[in-house]
């Protein structure tokens, strides 16, 4: 198992949009290295032919659906009450490079 390193950390930061102050970075890297070493213990457990546990409920829990009927809405007012910035009923953000 590859050792968890700085490059890993920077890649992860980009993916997770997490910025770190320089002091935090060093500490965090050490922390993550220790944690990754710890969780790596699972490698020694034999899981051949064992299925992933995607859903923990042991009772029949499938096909939970709802009818195609309009229900309770969130009012625009309530949405915008919590919005950092808004304009014309929309949430406002800095300009975005068009896609």
């Amino acid at each position: 198992m590859e050792k968890f390193n700085y490059q890993n950390l920077e890649d992860l930061q980009k993916l997770a949009r997490i910025q770190l102050k320089d002091e935090e970075k060093k500490d965090l890297l050490e922390s993550l290295q220790k944690i990754v070493e710890y969780i790596d213990q699972l490698d020694s457990i034999d899981t051949k032919d064992v299925a992933c546990c995607n859903h923990v409920s042991q009772v029949q829990n499938e096909n939970v659906v709802r009818d195609d009927v309009v229900g309770e809405l969130l009012s625009r007012e309530t949405l915008l009450e919590n919005a950092p910035d808004q304009i014309g009923g929309m949430i406002r953000t800095p300009p975005i490079m068009q896609d």
């Binding site: 992860l12 102050k21 710890y38 699972l42 923990v56 409920s57 829990n61 939970v64 950092p84 800095p94």
Partner: protein, 489 residues
């Protein structure tokens, strides 16, 4: 009337019998909160106006002899990662200091429908990530038994509030032990239901396949009472179980005759002497109540922390992605473009532990590592479930200590693994979706509480609570009140 010494069940009866008014009850507990919260750091928000308003309505209703709810007149605190509509939900994070909940959690709605009086929002580790409440970005919470020590976490504020009797009941959330461990540390009773038993709608998600809302109370009967209100199917939560509500109060046992209790002795080998002795004592008590004690093999649980910190952080890394400064919460004033809105807002809003877990969670899901970590952990989770299934084929419930140690001083754990290891006995119930309760089991030499855990198969919530009741009746540890708070005002 020393109202704080009463159980919720007793208080409600007093209220219904018109021996005390709801407004009196509310003023009383609000006063207790006001006097003690600074010491305890239990509450982040006190909802005095709302509570008094509800109390007035209840008094009116009661005066007209209208039918009253099952929790009528009972003060209840809500962990601040659970929504009360129009009130702030902070999750103890700088990210959400001004976030007004747009809807009430189903659990909160059910409590209000049954006439509970919601007194405030309690402190927690930020986004429920922690085992000591030290990760709250506002202030820590303290243990009523020893104010230098933690109340545990992440539902530290709730456990502290109940133990000090400034609220009689509180809700918590439990992802890896966050209801049970603080309950044990604070000498109160805390219950994590079967996964899906209580709706998660309105609970700010941490580990979606692990989270459950549950009650913390001063005694087991109150746990049962609250669960009868909370344990209902919810159409807004697709993982909510569609099973008839269980009856708890009717089924509370006084003994454990004909009950087989499984104990994973091998797994418990590493317990320190004091904890070990306390646990052995509890087992003797259960024997005297008629229980048949057998050994069960749960050695796989040694890996449960590794499994948990992979799965919970993976789920959390995606659950917390929505906190991006766009729609709600903090948005950094320095952000000049979209990237900066994300990066700076999350930097400003998230504490260190939260950032760490998000990065870890992103790592175990990332391309090249998902197979070795996330998928592997999912498979070991299956093994954990299978182990429990095998054990339960021979016993009605499993007993373990709730925590390996009693409450510790703030600042004790500096290395990451050390703190995580505190969850060793609680995590497995979340991995397997099992109902699990922690009930006080004694005190250590420093008069800090121990907790004992009962676990049952999925859907055996009422039986688990009933076993705990029998133990509680025989030992009465939960009725002990921390000396500092054992006076009215």
């Amino acid at each position: 009337m020393d109202l704080y010494k009463l159980s919720a069940y007793e208080l409600r009866n007093l209220f219904l019998d018109k021996k005390v008014k709801a407004t009196e009850i509310t003023e009383y507990f609000l006063k207790r909160i006001e006097k003690n919260n600074k010491k305890l750091g239990a509450f982040l928000t006190v909802l005095s106006e709302r509570a008094m308003q509800k109390a007035k309505e209840l008094d009116q209703k009661n005066a007209e002899n209208k039918p009253m709810g099952r929790l009528a007149g009972v003060p209840i605190a809500i962990k601040d990662n659970t929504h009360i509509e129009k009130e702030i939900t902070t999750c103890a994070s700088q990210f959400l200091t001004n976030y007004k909940a747009p809807f009430s959690a189903t659990a909160v709605k059910l409590l209000e429908e049954q006439d509970a009086i919601l007194v405030g929002k309690t402190n927690l580790d930020e986004f429920a990530m922690g085992s000591s409440n030290e990760n709250s970005s506002f202030y820590p919470s303290y243990n009523p038994w020893n104010l230098d020590c933690t109340p545990g976490g992440s539902s530290g504020g709730s456990a502290s509030a109940v133990a000090s009797r400034i609220s009689l009941i509180a809700t918590g959330s439990d992802t890896g032990g966050s209801i049970r461990q603080p309950s044990a540390f604070c000498g109160v009773v805390g219950f994590k239901p079967t996964y899906g038993r209580v709706s998660r709608y309105g609970l700010v998600a941490f580990g979606s396949s692990l989270d459950q809302i549950g009650p913390i109370a001063t005694n087991v009967k109150d746990i049962g009472l609250t669960m009868e209100v909370l344990g209902k199917h919810c159409p807004h939560d697709a993982m909510s179980l569609e099973f008839p509500a269980e009856s708890y109060i009717e089924n509370l046992r006084e003994d454990l005759s004909e009950i087989t209790v499984g104990v994973p002795w091998h797994f418990l080998e590493s317990l320190n002497k004091e904890a070990h002795d306390n646990f052995v004592q509890s087992i003797e008590t259960m024997k005297s109540l008629g229980a048949n004690i057998i050994d069960v093999n749960l050695d796989i649980l040694k890996s449960s922390i590794a499994v948990y910190y992979i799965l919970a952080t993976a789920e959390a890394s995606t659950n917390l992605a929505r906190f991006d400064g766009i729609r709600y919460g903090v948005r950094s004033k320095d952000a000049k473009n979209l990237e900066e809105v994300y990066d700076l807002s999350r930097d400003q809003g998230f504490g260190y532990e939260v950032k760490k877990r998000i990065l870890l969670g992103t790592y175990v899901l990332s391309s090249g590592f998902q197979e070795a970590f996330y998928k592997k952990a999912q498979k070991v989770r299956t093994l954990v479930i299978q182990s429990f299934d095998a054990a339960f084929s021979n016993c009605d419930c499993i007993c373990m200590p709730t925590a390996p140690i009693t409450s510790f001083k703030l600042g004790t754990f500096q290395d990451p693994i050390g703190m995580y290891l505190q969850d060793i006995f609680t995590i497995s119930a979340n991995l397997a979706g099992l109902p699990a309760i922690s009930v006080p089991s004694g005190f250590d030499k420093d008069n800090k509480p121990f907790g004992l855990q009962f676990l049952g198969p999925q859907l055996h919530d009422a039986p688990v609570v009933s076993y705990a009741h029998a133990y509680e009746q025989a030992t009465k540890f939960s009725s002990k009140i921390p000396p500092l708070f054992d006076k009215e005002f």
